[in-house]
Symmetry: C2
Subunit: 243 residues, 2 copies
């Protein structure tokens, strides 16, 4: 019986990434954490803070993937439109979440300090659950298989680390990295043959340039450790012939 | 008469980004360069080295955007399937490009050193033009509005910098950045009013945390410099009231 593979998609919502003002730090963190956990990240989209774009991406992703993560657009300002857009994608109302409101009330200590803008941070698509935020308190939300996270990396990480243990995971892809100090073109024909021989292994080849000499990082990945070991031996033998 | 706005999409092709092995460096560079040049980056997708995924993304993007850039998957190894997949997306053959072959021949000096794998780097969708690569010689390709670039950041930049001057561009979005040393929730209600008053300006609000105190970077962007100046004055006055 084949084990179930769990698939994820990530939607980065943010004009600041597309305009080049801010360098995204969230893709690498989420990609890395999922990969180590046995969940496969299949696609990432970076889209603008535009309602129709968010609705399209959410509805495409939530059908295709087990888990969908969004980052960005859940703050108090006018350009934070993620939760209301996701509510529309689900065809539900964006409603005041009582648990989220309690958290804001605790934090600000006074109902009057929660102005109309801050109040927006307590709204979520109907039927959402909270995702706690230990840094700035305003929570993220889970609506069915969609996890709505903050965009500020420190806060996003705190939310993501909190939900990761709750997700169902498949077997972890074991990974071996080999630094072949030869240009990839030299070993490419033989490498193709090794790839064709080992269907259970995914062989990635990543060229690099260091002090004007070309090398290649080879990454072998498989859920089958024995196949991986055999593949590694063949790749090491191949490299020996050229160094 | 309204000036034409030029739109771009970026497709990052690479299992290594989705697996978390490699942190993407290309999004920020391309986003920044386009933004400064008067071309608007509308969407970025990171997809796996899978033919159907590449075809879907390419055909979606080339219809929607003036310019489409891809990075990754144009090397000599088995996992480099970008050009052949893009040829399929266009419904044309992936053919030997004589100019690209000449470059490889010059570089390797000997026909025999261009093994079958390296030969793949001289193939491109029928009707492509070359994009020169000063670093490792193997070229990228332009097919209609799709620019096929390398994934290695240094090479990608060299190719991108070479093509950027050849693209048609709209007016540049002028941008002003203001560091409001107050939490965004404090100024959010009034900021919304300023945004509503100035339709020509796009106001972005980006919270940050420094030494446990919360601040907000406000970014005002517009092609209209006068509107931008007026918006800046209002935002500065707003901040003064809370500091």
């Amino acid at each position: 019986m084949k084990e179930r593979i769990y698939l994820a998609g990530l939607i980065i919502i943010g004009n600041e990434i597309l305009s080049g003002r801010t360098e995204d730090k969230n893709i690498a963190y989420i990609a890395n954490s999922l990969s180590k956990s046995g969940i496969r990240l299949n696609e990432v989209r970076v889209i603008a803070d535009i309602e129709e774009e968010i609705i399209l991406a959410i509805n495409n992703f939530r059908d295709r993937f087990d888990y969908v993560f969004t980052t960005g657009g859940i703050g108090p300002t006018h350009d934070d439109i993620t939760t209301q857009s996701i509510a529309k994608a689900f065809g539900v109302e964006n409603v005041l979440n009582q648990d989220a409101y309690k958290i804001l009330l605790d934090y600000y200590g006074d109902r009057k300090k929660i102005n109309e803008s801050r109040m927006r941070m307590a709204y979520a698509p109907e039927g959402s659950e909270l995702i706690y935020n230990n840094i700035s308190k305003a929570p993220g939300f889970k609506k069915e298989n969609v996890f709505i996270l903050a965009g500020v990396p420190k806060i996003m990480r705190s939310m993501f680390d909190a939900i990761l243990p709750t997700l169902k995971k498949g077997r972890i892809l074991n990974s071996i990295e080999i630094n072949a100090k030869v240009p990839e073109g030299v070993i490419a024909p033989e490498l193709t043959k090794i790839q064709e021989k080992y269907h259970e292994i995914e062989i990635g080849s990543y060229p690099y340039y260091e002090n004007d000499s070309a090398g290649t990082i080879l990454v072998l990945r498989s859920i089958n450790k024995e196949a991986l070991k055999n593949g590694e031996i063949e790749v090491l033998n191949l490299i020996k012939r050229f160094t």
